[in-house]
C-alpha cells in the first residue's frame, strides 16, 4: 500500500538528482505543488517527460533544474509561447536544454508501451515528417502479416511519475476523474509513483470517468489541496485562465521570472 506522506517528504524520498521524471495531467490536474516542492528542494539535472510542458515545466526549466525535455507540444495553451522553455532552447539560459521531441500520438503511445511492459509501441504516425530525423526514439517496424511499414516509438519508463488527483483513501488508493489524459499510463510506466491529492477521504466513491489506481500501484500519496493551481481539479476548482495569461509577461523576462519564483515558490515553504 502507498505511504501517506507530506509533500516535502514524498518529494525528498521519491525524486532524486538526475532522475527522469514525468509530471502528467493534460491541462487538467497538473501537479504544480509538487513541481514547486522540487524547485524548493533544488532537485536538479532532471530529464523531464510530458506531452505538454505547460507552465509547470517552464518554471522548472527556468529554475535551472532541467537537463533534457521529452515532449510533444511546448506552448502556453491558449496564450502563446513558453518563454523559459524557448530561452533555454534558443539561448541556453540558464543552462542548455537537450530535447527529444515527438507528436502527441507518439508520446501517448510511448507511455502506453511503458505501462504495458513493452519496449516499443506501433502507430500510424510521423510519415513524411522531419521529426524522426531529430530523435532516436522513433523508428519503423514492418507488419509481419501485411508487409506495411509503420512507425515504432520507444517506450518511456520514468524513474518517477508525479500526478495530481482529487482523492485518495487512507490505504493510498487514488481516484481522479474528469479529463484523465495520459495519467494512468504515465503512472504505470514509472518505477515510482507520487500522487498529490486535493484531499484524503475515508472511502472513495466510484465516479463517472473515474480512474482508480490501487494503493499497491502507488508509492506515495501526499495531500496538496489546490495543488494543481493554476491548472484545476474538476469538482474542486476551475482553471485559472487569468494566471496562464499573466504568466506570459512574467516568463518573458528573466528577472521577472526569478522574482516570481522567489516570491511564490521559495518563500512559501510547504508545511512539513
Amino acid at each position: 500500500m502507498a505511504e501517506i506522506r507530506t509533500l516535502h517528504d514524498a518529494v525528498a524520498e521519491l525524486v532524486h538528482d538526475g532522475d527522469t521524471v514525468a509530471m502528467e495531467g493534460f491541462t487538467h490536474l497538473i501537479p504544480f505543488a509538487a513541481a514547486h516542492e522540487i524547485i524548493r528542494q533544488g532537485i536538479t539535472d532532471l530529464t523531464l517527460v510530458r506531452m505538454t510542458p505547460d507552465v509547470i515545466y517552464d518554471q522548472l526549466i527556468g529554475a535551472g533544474l532541467v537537463k533534457k525535455l521529452v515532449f510533444s507540444w511546448g506552448g502556453n495553451p491558449g496564450v502563446g509561447s513558453l518563454h523559459r522553455f524557448r530561452d533555454a532552447v534558443e539561448n541556453g539560459w540558464p543552462r542548455p536544454l537537450e530535447i527529444d521531441e515527438h507528436s502527441h500520438a507518439g508520446m501517448a503511445n510511448r507511455y502506453v508501451a511503458g505501462a504495458s511492459g513493452l519496449p516499443f509501441a506501433v502507430l500510424r504516425g510521423y510519415r513524411g515528417s522531419d521529426i524522426p530525423e531529430r530523435t532516436d526514439t522513433v523508428s519503423t517496424v514492418t507488419c509481419p502479416f501485411t508487409g506495411e511499414e509503420l512507425a515504432a516509438v520507444r517506450a518511456v519508463n520514468p524513474d518517477v511519475t508525479v500526478i495530481h488527483a482529487q482523492q485518495a483513501d487512507h490505504d493510498g488508493n487514488v481516484q481522479l476523474w474528469g479529463l484523465t489524459g495520459v495519467q494512468k499510463e504515465a503512472a504505470l510506466a514509472a518505477r515510482r509513483v507520487l500522487v498529490t491529492v486535493e484531499e484524503i477521504v475515508d472511502e472513495l466513491t466510484p465516479r463517472p470517468t473515474g480512474v482508480v489506481l490501487p494503493g499497491w500501484a502507488v508509492t506515495a500519496v501526499a495531500p496538496a489541496p489546490d495543488g494543481a493551481h493554476p491548472s484545476y481539479a474538476a469538482g474542486y476548482s476551475v482553471r485559472d485562465n487569468a494566471f496562464y495569461q499573466a504568466w506570459d509577461p512574467i516568463s518573458r523576462d528573466r528577472d521577472a521570472f526569478r522574482k516570481w519564483i522567489e516570491e511564490h515558490v521559495h518563500d512559501r515553504s510547504q508545511a512539513r
Partner: protein, 263 residues
Amino acid sequence: MTTAPRAAAATEVTPDELMTVNAARALAGARTCFVGIGLPSTAANLSRRTDNPDLVLVYESGTLGSKPTRLPLSIGDGELADTADAVVSVPEIFNYWLQAGRIDVGFLGAAQTDRYANINTTVVDRGPGRPEGRLPGAGGAPEIAANCGRVLMVLRHSTRNFVEKLDFTTTVGHGSGPGDRERLGLRGRGPTAVITDLGILRPDPETAELVLTEVHPGVTTDRVRAATGWELRVADRVTATAPPTEAEITALRTLKNAGRSAA
C-alpha cells in the same frame, strides 16, 4: 432559404472575423471534427452555432462531442469534458478514434505553410549566426493530418507564414505534390482548403498546389499575392466570399465575449 440573409455591414467586420466565419462555413456537412485549439476551435464552435449544429467536436484532451457554451481557452478546459458525450483517455482518442480513421475533418492552425499545404510548427530559421527560433512543436497535427478524412487549415496570411520552403516539415499536407500522400501511406485526402484573413486557397486537383480561389470582400488578388512567400497561383475566376451574415457575426461575437468574460 427564401430570403437572402441580411449581410453584416462590411465596415464592422475585421479580417480575423472574415477568416473565422469562412472557416466555420467550411465545416458545413461535416459530421465530426478533430479540433485544434485557437482559431480552429473558434471556427468549429461557430459552425455549431450557425450552419452545423450537430457537428461533433473531438478534442485531443479526450472529449467526444463537446458542446461548450463558451470558447475554451485551452484544450483541457473543464467545460469540454462536462458537456461531452464521452470522455476517454488521451491514448484512446489518438488510437481508437483518430488513427482508426473515424473523424471526417481535422482542423489545424499553422505557423508556416508552403504551396503544398505542408505545415511547420517546430522551428524557424532566423538566419546565419542565430539559433533556430523555437515554436511549440507538433502536438496532434501530424497524425490529425494523416488520419482524418480531410484537413482544413486556418491561419493569417503573410509572407512570414506562407513560405517558399518550410524550415522544418512537422506535418505533411500534400508533401511534394500529387501522389505523395498515397506513397507515404497517409490515408485521408489531406488539406482541402486553407482559410486566411484574406481569402481561401484550395489545392489544384491535378498538381495539389494551393490556388487562390476566393478572396474576402474588398481584398484584391494582388494583395494576396504580395502576402504569399511564393509565386501564388490564382484561379481563372476568383470569386468573393459571401459577406458574413448578421447571424454569423452575432454568433461569433457572443461566443468570443462569453469566453472573455469567463476567463
